[in-house]
């Protein structure tokens, strides 16, 4: 069974009297452990689709099911709980709570999950070491570089053992070298922990890393290409 099922989904935005169909009858199934990129030009609906998969927004028609949970049948609070337990998020920027240190940002999500203190500390330590931030545990976000901030964001997305990590342009603000390192790191996580990664991107490098590329165009799926290894 797929971990993410998107079935005939449409999303319409209203802006004043104007309406805009950002997604038009999109269907997509993602299996556990995939490393998949949603590609397409700006405005093609990548972020919109990612938000629907994350349960941050609801479609106007069609349905989105995450790990057997149909968002349309859930309340706002239940969707929040599901995100907490099953999803990790990495955004393009401003991923971190500015008043918390790197370690506290990562620990925060474990606190929300009511994980015991001793276990929290140990998991936070090891994940921050894993993403290469041994020295920066106690730095605030504004004391970290953009790449380091994104690493903390990845650490936070991963630390809660989610089924799926949704990453919206995670490399867009990074130079290519830093971006490549971040992607390599996520690839390792994907392989080691069998976490599913879904990217929204127009970064060529991300597509090179991805094992499957779904192309969107004007809110429709224009191509779905699996790379065989």
């Amino acid at each position: 069974m797929s971990i993410v099922e998107v079935e005939e989904v449409s999303k319409i935005y209203h802006q004043g009297k104007m309406t805009f169909k950002a997604l038009d009858d999109v269907s997509l199934a993602v299996d556990k452990g995939e490393f998949i990129a949603l590609a397409g030009p700006s405005g093609s609906g990548k972020t919109t689709l990612l938000n629907l998969v994350g349960g941050l927004d609801l479609p106007d028609s069609g349905k989105v099911v995450l790990d057997g949970n149909d968002y349309s049948k859930m309340g706002d609070g239940q969707r929040a709980d599901l995100r907490l337990e099953r999803l990790g998020f990495v955004f393009q920027s401003y991923n971190l709570i500015p008043v918390l240190t790197a370690a506290e940002n990562v620990e925060y999500i474990l606190r929300l999950q009511n994980v015991e203190k001793a276990e929290r500390i140990e998991r936070v330590q090891s994940i921050l070491d894993e993403v290469g931030l041994q020295e920066k545990h106690n730095s605030r976000p504004d004391e970290l570089s953009g790449g380091q901030q994104q690493r903390v964001a990845v650490a936070r997305a991963i630390v809660s053992n989610p089924a799926v990590v949704l990453a919206d342009e995670p490399t867009a603000n990074l130079d290519s070298k830093t971006g490549e390192k971040l992607l390599e790191m996520m690839r390792v996580m994907n392989e080691k922990r069998q976490v599913t990664f879904i990217f929204a991107t127009h970064d060529k490098m991300v597509m090179d890393f991805a094992r499957r590329i779904v192309s969107l165009h004007d809110g429709k799926v224009a191509g779905d290409q699996k790379k065989d290894e």
């Binding site: 929040a80 599901l82 995100r83 999803l87 990790g88 709570i97």
Partner: protein, 412 residues
């Protein structure tokens, strides 16, 4: 964790937090300090009234209050005293007096006065006349031809200590009786008006002049309880006294019954204070809400992020409320410290109003106001700020909880 985040968030924009804190300090301090001052003023008013020959409890003929003449007297005070003394708490002082209307005459003019016959040693600690005299000296029990008048009256009639004046009053047959006295000394009180009204002579002298034998017009009890507000048990004591002396035909009353206007004012006072606290808060509350709204909108993206990673919106509301609570607690801590500093140290020895005494006296106020910090005022002022603060804080908090992650994340 919520507390840590809230605390750090408060100091993210220290200038803004300091502005709210300043508003709170000004608001709470004005509530606490001004209420302590006006309490002090009222305490002074009550003390003045009680020391102004009223006492805490007074026993007299029930008709005397309407018709204060020598006919309405207690003919055998010794019997009454024997009855009531065992009922009084330790430390209570008792004085017997005659108080009648009369005229004080000099060679040039006559002035209406109230002639009070006292036993000087009984008045110590009871009324202002028990305090040291201002000029001259107190009358001795054997100086039957002497009297004490107020300093203001002395100046008014242009006399000096040692001069003679004539006192005229009416005896129980409505005949004028008069006698000449030598001014032995003058007294001062908080109120110049009092000084112009009361003249004091020895009780036996007045009794003889009016031909009333042992009779007095009042027995005054002064309790050792000091401040006005704390008169627990006073009503019970008075009713016990009344039960005891029921058959005598006289009645005992407490000062609240004798001074109904002051008493009513005191009763409404807490209500006034509460209203005033709320008014001050409204001014302050707008500042708090506005600033918190600004803070919340600035952090819209953060709230969106927190929602995205799985925080329920109720939790966001709670976080903002914790922040507001922290701000309120911190603000009231600072404000109370500052208020206590003002009350105890800056105004501790009282504010001297004697420069304006002419204006304040008509209200029965003291020349010096010593602030009286009441716990009720302190708790109520802080309670109003905390409760209403949290209440108005709900608005920005709920706003923060309503940001949807998608709209918040698009907002940069």
């Amino acid at each position: 964790m919520d507390l840590v985040i809230a605390w750090r968030n408060l100091w993210r924009n220290p200038r803004r937090t300091l502005i709210i804190l300043t508003a709170m300090v000004i608001g709470i301090t004005s509530m606490v300090v001004l209420s302590a001052l006006s309490r002090g003023m009222i305490d002074g008013m009550v003390d003045n009234a009680i020391n102004n020959l009223v006492g805490h409890i007074r026993i007299q003929d029930p008709e005397y209050r309407v018709d204060p003449s020598i006919i309405r007297r207690i003919t055998h005070p010794q019997q009454l005293l024997a009855d009531i003394t065992p009922l009084l708490p330790p430390g209570a002082d008792i004085a017997r007096r005659i108080k009648v209307d009369g005229m004080l005459g000099t060679s040039r003019e006559h002035v209406g006065v109230i002639i009070v016959g006292i036993i000087p040693e009984n008045e110590t600690g009871i009324s202002f006349i028990g305090r040291p005299v201002h000029q001259g000296r107190m009358i001795n029990p054997d100086e039957s031809g002497d009297l004490i008048i107020g300093q203001a009256l002395l100046e008014r009639i242009g006399a000096r200590v040692g001069r003679k004046v004539v006192l005229v009053s009416q005896n129980q047959e409505w005949e004028n009786v008069s006698r000449s006295f030598r001014i032995r000394g003058t007294y001062r009180t908080e109120l110049a008006q009092t000084e112009k009204v009361y003249v004091f002579v020895l009780l036996p002298v007045l009794q003889e002049m009016l031909g009333v034998g042992e009779g007095v017009t009042e027995i005054t009890v002064h309790l050792e309880q000091g401040k006005s507000g704390k008169d627990d048990g006073l009503a019970e004591l008075v009713s016990a006294l009344n039960t005891k002396i029921r058959d005598s035909g006289y009645i005992a009353e407490n000062w609240r019954q004798m001074l109904p206007a002051i008493s009513a004012y005191l009763e409404m006072y807490n209500g006034y204070m509460l209203i005033w606290f709320i008014v001050v808060f409204i001014a302050m509350g707008f500042g708090i809400v506005n600033t918190m709204l600004m803070a919340v909108y600035e952090r819209m993206r953060e709230f969106g992020l927190q929602r995205a990673i799985g925080m329920r919106s109720s939790r966001i509301v709670r976080m903002v409320m914790v922040e507001i609570l922290l701000l309120l607690l911190f603000g009231s801590l600072v404000a109370n410290g500052f208020s206590l500093f003002l009350i105890k140290i800056v105004f501790g020895s009282g504010i001297d109003l004697s420069l304006f005494a002419e204006g304040t006296e008509m209200w029965g106020m003291s020349r010096v106001i010593v602030p009286a910090l009441s716990l009720w005022d302190l708790y109520t002022a802080n309670g109003v700020v905390l409760v209403l603060g949290l209440l108005v804080g709900l608005y920005p908090a709920v706003r923060a909880g309503r940001f949807t992650p998608v709209e918040a994340m698009r907002h940069l």
